[in-house]
Symmetry: C2
Subunit: 225 residues, 2 copies
């Protein structure tokens, strides 16, 4: 393990798991993997003393996370003003059917990042961050589609969040029933996986007939698991 | 429209959408539909002044949401102490490829509930709430698997949240490009759907061979979309 990827995740109080510590992953590559596999994150902010949790797209360059939105959006505005944020990306991989109701669980991968976001003002960094967002959500679109105008850039707030304080928690595998239940129970136990896939591309009804699905779009459907 | 289902959603400041108000759904049945289709929610709390967003399972009885967890979990503890919470359930339905990078979007359904959760102490309500959680996550398991013991019940905190203040936001359909881009662009535009399905049940390796997959489990896989 060399380079930034081998830097372990933080071990502050709020990133050290109190429960099921065996589910913690402490390699920074695990953080990247959970983020890169996600489409949206849930951004948590505090507005007037109350939590606000909203889904939003994101991008990543190394250990910096980028979030964007309209300059009018409440949660973006709160985050841009230097208030602490929490960004969570979760994949639900399956339902764990145990021999007891109590031991039922969910297989999942979850990354949680804590920090204070900064508003990106530098034009070069803003373009790079927005490109990271586009590359994450729709790889290939930055080159294929029309790029942002000065007016569109001005209407967009870009936030950066250094992923210094983060935790990753993963549950995989069969149920963790008590030995007593395993020995005596006569009910089914196992996992029902949840599988997420790309569907076949749907053309915009207003698209000219001669514009075919480009490779960077077709690839998602054809490469589905 | 009659009964509780026709009660419109709230129209407080934080549940009234400032941006894309046309994406708002104000029928309580839309809230129920988004929740019932979700496996986990993201629970937002405020801990030491900072937001904490964690995924957790949930259940619903009418307009009451139930959350549970270990009595030792930080976010549950914060929520049980009467602090405001935000519960968000999001479905990501597709990536919207627009003619401009700026108009790229995500098709989604999202429910956001604001309120103060109450710790359920009444034994009858606690059992009903836990059953709602089990019925939501693994329908049929409450009857099939071993029920909770007194000790397991004591180790579980159940919270109830009245869904008085809630909002639902839904985006569907093709990209919303500017007319100018629609007229002139030569790039592909449309939607790549994201499809979530149940996979084939995986037996616990320690399950006796003669215990077959019961109907309530097999049903999920066979009824997949």
């Amino acid at each position: 393990m060399t380079g930034i990827d081998s830097t372990p995740l933080s071990s502050t109080t709020r990133t050290t798991l109190g429960r099921y510590p065996d589910r913690a992953r402490t390699d920074r590559r695990d953080l990247h993997a959970v983020l890169d596999a996600g489409v949206v994150c849930h951004l948590g902010t505090v507005v007037d003393g109350a939590p606000l949790v909203l889904p939003t797209s994101f991008g990543r360059i190394g250990d910096t996370l980028y979030l964007h939105g309209s300059s009018g959006a409440t949660s973006l505005r709160a985050a841009a003003e230097g208030a602490p944020v929490c960004v969570t990306v979760t994949h639900v991989d399956g339902i764990v059917y145990a021999r007891s109701v109590f031991s039922h669980s969910v297989n999942y991968r979850c990354a949680v990042i804590h920090g204070v976001a900064l508003r990106v003002e530098d034009e070069g960094q803003k373009l790079a961050g927005l490109r990271a967002l586009a590359d994450h959500m729709a790889p290939g679109s930055w080159e294929h589609a029309r790029g942002p105008t000065t007016k569109e850039l001005a209407a967009t707030v870009l936030l950066s969040l250094d992923m210094v304080e983060a935790s990753v928690k993963v549950r995989t595998g069969p149920p963790g029933d008590d030995e007593e239940d395993i020995a005596s129970a006569r009910c089914w136990a196992g996992v029902v996986p949840i599988v997420t896939n790309w569907g076949a591309p749907q053309r915009c009804p207003r698209l000219p007939d001669d514009i075919l699905v480009p490779d960077h779009v077709a690839h998602r459907y054809s490469a589905r698991s």
